[in-house]
């Protein structure tokens, strides 16, 4: 009996030793020499592997960061939207560099053609994918630019940050959004835009991208931008541009004065996370600021 145990131990022990020796030499032979910095940088990245930085996964981004630091001594043009400034700062610190603060972005839905605003004229019967429906027809409400409401953005989101509301049939972005841009790519209509989060999460944007003439647009949707240029004329900061019957607010130039919101005849300009208006319509930037202090609203986005 003892002999059996002895032989077993010996055989297994010998096999193990031989295997270990082989493994050692193989490991030496095929050793990949990698910059140790890559591991260090990789450790601070969020590991979401979302591709929002433009690289396939966090590891590739870490490699790109190290490469850029070695070759250009700067990290310009590289940004991790998920981790934001904190992650970029710590990555830069590891590499002995500094990065500029980037303004955090968030996805906004530039369509408000809800079931109520753009009632269905026709029933769609087919697979629940916007990509196919976009090829097939203009949309239940008839607007060839508007949201199809079939949720390709929802499927594309890795962060549980965008959902189709059953009430409006439109996607809604919540605070989990990290601006990775997956939904922007997924939307065949291009209605999702990454815009700066803004001070205190306040944003103003035109929630429409249709380029039809006003009458046509209005026929399809109550809240379409009709290209009337009223906002363009009223904007004191030249932040609004008009092209193809559509207004666009430049988020960099916009000072969130909300004048455009008031003049828009179709309510297609949206303001988000602003405190309720006082009776005086001419709210200047100064007053908005003071109002904001008194009205601390929870961080909630109604896109």
């Amino acid at each position: 009996m003892n002999e059996v145990i002895l032989y077993t131990l010996l055989t297994l022990g010998l096999l193990g030793t031989v295997a270990a020796v082989i493994l050692y030499f193989v490991a030496q032979k095929f050793k990949v020499i990698e910059n140790p910095m890559i591991d260090l940088v990789d450790d601070v990245l969020p590991k979401a592997n979302c591709g929002g930085c433009g690289f396939p996964g966090c590891r590739a981004f870490a490699e790109a960061l190290v490469k850029s630091a070695n070759e250009n001594h700067s990290l310009d043009g590289l940004n991790c939207p998920v981790g934001g400034n904190d992650v970029m700062k710590s990555a830069a610190a590891i590499l002995g560099l500094e990065v500029e603060e980037q303004e955090p972005l968030i996805a906004v839905i530039r369509c408000n053609g809800s079931k109520a605003n753009s009632p269905a004229k026709i029933n769609y019967d087919g697979p629940s994918t916007c990509a196919f429906a976009h090829n097939l027809y203009a949309g239940e409400g008839g607007c060839p630019h508007g949201c199809l409401g079939l949720g390709d953005c929802e499927v594309s989101c890795d962060f549980d940050a965008i959902h189709i509301s059953s009430e409006t049939g439109l996607p809604e972005v919540n605070e989990k959004c990290v601006a990775c841009g997956a939904c922007v790519k997924a939307c065949p209509r291009g209605i999702i835009e990454l815009r700066p989060k803004g001070k205190k999460d306040r944003r103003i944007f035109v929630s429409c991208i249709n380029q039809e003439k006003g009458g046509v647009a209005k026929k399809n949707c109550e809240v379409a931008c009709i290209g009337c240029s009223k906002c363009f004329k009223v904007c004191p900061f030249d932040a609004i541009t008009m092209s193809n019957n559509l207004a666009y607010i430049d988020p960099v130039k916009c000072k969130l004065c909300r004048k455009c919101v008031e003049v828009c005849p179709t309510n297609s300009i949206h303001e988000i996370n602003f405190p309720p208006r006082k009776i005086k319509p001419e709210a200047t930037e100064e007053t908005t600021k003071t109002m904001a202090v008194s009205h601390q609203e929870p961080n909630e986005n109604k896109a």
Binding site: T129, F132, N135, V216
Partner: protein
């Protein structure tokens, strides 16, 4: 009885429902206003040559094609151009179109023979024929609207041996080609001879499915007076009207994957196109009208109309005694490959072969279930593809693998989805996959 010729792989046999087969072709009255979309053919849209306020005569050139695959457009009516603007197309998108306020009196452009006499002798030479086909804006009337003159130009090093004329009309419900063969047989055969001359081919074969016995008999009788035209009855099987399937059925040749029929020495044309060629070459009449079937299970008077391009669909439906109460879906074309349309205001275009009104209960699809891997889609696919697998690959966005599984060979006939016991939207995903794969191929170039 010896079994009839047909294609070998796959195929289905949907209920025929040719309700309008015995309705003679009627001429439809003119509308008040006609909308002529500029992009009626496959390829580049045409450029307008008229401007707002211009008076136009019937048959006058109003838009021209510049690029290689493009076709001319002629005014189907006499009247005044009221605007050139974007108008709803059948899928609800807005596309450029010329709108003409139609006047009642029909004044034809000079040089067009509008008499009913049949001109048999072909005087034009080869080049003149192709030029006339081009200037008259003839496109394939089977549905794909590929400009015919492009098809006629056989590339160097290739030789057309057969002209195959598609009189199959394998789509259920549709009867426009059937009626045309019965009523315009003589003109049709002359048109075929013109095409044969243009292509310099020895033989033409007219493939007709055996459910149109009267058309087969009628044309066989007439063809006795024409040289080298053979009328070939075919077994009833969908999608025999597909170019590749028709070549396989008639001359037993297989067009290689990704190649055109000329690769095996064949040129395929529709009977409607052949008739249009006759009118263009012998009568100098541009393509401004076509035969359209209006049918459906609930339609009171299923009919075949000779319709000018630009006539709103609503007018056709009215002429077939109105939109039935319980209509749930309007289809431009046949039930297998036709396109559901958004509204009845859209106009008839060169590619409109029929207007099919489906009842409410037929309009909705049945609930899709799990794939039970029954392999019926694989066995009915006329191209020998595996739709169940392609569906999965497209859902997983594995378009590269889809290309390896030959997704681009799909002819979108819909046999797979028709037969699927689990009611899966196979073709919907295949179309999406083809589009995505096409984008990848183009981005490589």
């Amino acid at each position: 009885m010896k079994s009839l010729k047909t294609f070998k792989i796959g195929g289905v046999h949907p209920e025929e429902n040719k309700r309008s087969a015995n309705a003679p072709i009627q001429i439809l009255p003119f509308p008040k206003q006609a909308i002529i979309p500029l992009g009626q053919n496959l390829g580049a849209p045409s450029k307008p040559l008229v401007k707002r306020g211009d008076e136009v005569k019937t048959g006058q050139l109003i838009a021209g094609g510049e690029s290689f695959i493009a076709a001319n457009l002629h005014s189907p009516f006499t009247g005044k151009v009221s605007k050139i603007d974007n108008f709803l197309d059948s899928s609800g998108y807005r596309r450029p179109a010329i709108v003409i306020d139609v006047q009642e009196e029909d004044i034809w452009e000079d040089g067009i023979d509008t008499s009913g006499t049949i001109k048999r002798e072909i005087t034009a030479d080869r080049k003149t024929i192709i030029d006339t086909i081009k200037s008259c804006g003839i496109v394939g009337l089977g549905g794909a609207t590929f400009p015919t003159h492009v098809k006629m130009m056989v590339p160097d090093g290739k030789k057309a041996e057969y002209l195959i004329i598609n009189g199959v009309e394998c789509e259920p419900y549709l009867t426009s080609d059937h009626r045309l063969m019965l009523e315009k047989g003589q003109e049709l055969l002359i048109g075929i001879q013109i095409l044969m001359k243009a292509l310099d081919v020895e033989k033409a074969i007219v493939g007709i499915e055996n459910n149109k016995r009267d058309a087969i008999n009628h044309l066989t009788e007439l063809a006795a007076g024409f040289e080298r035209i053979q009328i070939q009855p075919l077994k009833v099987k969908y999608p025999q009207g597909g170019e590749k399937q028709l070549i396989k059925a008639t001359v037993n040749r297989e067009v290689p994957s990704g190649k055109l029929p000329i690769e095996v020495g064949c040129v395929v044309s529709n009977v409607g196109t052949a008739f249009a060629v006759y009118e263009a070459v012998q009568k100098n009449k541009p393509l401004i009208e076509r035969i359209v079937t209006v049918t459906g299970k609930a339609v009171k008077k299923p009919s075949n109309f000779k319709v000018r391009v630009g006539t709103p669909v609503q007018q056709l439906i009215d002429a077939a005694e109105g939109l039935p109460e319980n209509t749930g879906k309007i289809i431009n074309g046949g039930p297998m490959m036709g396109k559901a349309i958004m509204s009845t205001e859209v106009p008839v275009v060169k590619g409109t072969s029929g207007i099919l009104l489906m009842k409410q209960e037929e309009s909705r699809r049945k609930t899709a279930l799990n794939c039970i891997r029954c392999s019926k889609c694989t066995s009915v696919c006329p191209m020998g593809l595996e739709p169940y697998l392609l569906l999965k690959l497209v859902k997983l966005e594995r378009y590269e693998d889809g290309m390896k599984e030959r997704i681009m060979d799909c002819i979108e006939c819909g046999s797979c989805q028709f037969t699927c016991p689990s009611n899966l939207p196979l073709l919907d995903y295949l179309k999406l996959g083809k589009q995505r794969a096409g984008q990848i191929i183009r981005s490589r170039k």
